[in-house]
Symmetry: C2
């Protein structure tokens, strides 16, 4: 099997969003053209992406929308709930802890960890905040494999090491630290600066060429 391109994987959640929306409108079938028009992509690209899931569409009709939702969700591994823990319950960490939207992505944040005595022991959005000293035992006990990292940059590597030691396999890194991890650990950087860089450059380019 040929590997699925990363850009394709990143577009899948966008397709799910369109699917969700059209399903609310009562629509039963959906074509690559429908999705493409909604998102501003080419239908060829969307059709090729969908092809990776193995679903069979009907000419003139498209795909069964329920089935398409299922195969994409399944491809992403979002059909089952994946447990995660979050470290660093500050401004950003609290927002993530309380975000309901993660349910759609099969992500369930069990609890948060911090050092700050003012919040340890409390609940935020119904999630218990525990002390970082209990992190390793809790993760091992609950067999959590995903860690969300929202501590200050200065603590990021240290907490990463702790996560690895506790058995975390995937780290979603919201800090700007370049984390060092063993080969078998996956780090996904949530890179606000990269996104802002694109916005900045596109904007300045527009201003230069337009006027």
């Amino acid at each position: 099997m040929k590997p699925v391109p990363y850009p394709t994987i990143q577009r899948f959640p966008l397709y799910l969003e369109v699917i969700k929306q059209l399903q609310l409108a009562g629509i039963k079938t959906i074509s690559a053209t429908d999705i493409a028009q909604n998102l501003g992509f080419t239908n060829i690209q969307v059709r090729k992406d969908i092809g990776y899931t193995g679903i069979i569409g009907k000419p003139k009709i498209g795909y069964n929308i329920k089935e398409l939702e299922k195969v994409i969700t399944s491809f992403l591994g979002w059909q089952n709930t994946n447990d995660a823990i979050l470290v660093g319950v500050g401004a950003l960490g609290s927002a993530l802890l309380g975000y309901k939207g993660f349910e759609d992505y099969g992500l369930n944040i069990i609890s948060g960890f911090d050092v700050n005595k003012k919040i340890v022991g409390k609940k935020i959005h119904g999630k218990k905040i525990l002390h970082i000293d209990d992190f390793e035992s809790q993760v091992k006990l609950l067999k959590v494999s995903i860690g969300i990292l929202t501590v200050n940059q200065s603590s990021a590597q240290q907490i990463t090491d702790l996560m690895v030691k506790a058995g975390i396999k995937g780290i979603w890194n919201f800090s700007s630290e370049n984390l060092k991890v063993p080969d078998d650990i996956v780090v996904q950087r949530e890179n606000l600066s990269a996104s802002l860089a694109l916005l900045s450059v596109k904007l300045s380019h527009k201003f230069k060429t337009k006027q």
Copy 2:
């Protein structure tokens, strides 16, 4: 001039991060190899990226670190402060309002806007929260061109329309709505789901192949 690839633009902030770190350590020159090793890239890629800035390096030495920082920052348009406003001062919006790190990216969030009477009129992290009814006049008055969108998905398109009407040229969209905008408006989606999709797939792939 050939356009600079988007992937290159997205890597530039990572290079700045390494530069910042090495500068703290007192280092005066930096090679493409240094940066590459820090980030796990190839030195060829880093050298090519840097080439787009036009900076001249010295064989055996690399680049003057101060100069390299300057040309990358300048390329991104981050040498001057760009004013922005934020709409939707909820959990995520508050976190972004208070985030000091944006200073490094030349981004200055002037104020926040919301409809919630409980927060309108207050200050969050020193930033005034105004009512959305005053949005258009304020934006026109202050000539802000960047808008940060952190409202509920259901209000996202409506606020986008308002931003466009008020003269906003670039929208940083944190909602999962597929925004419709005129051609001359730049929308940058901050796509948590795309990032999570990659993490999910990489993880499941690791588990499948490793064990």
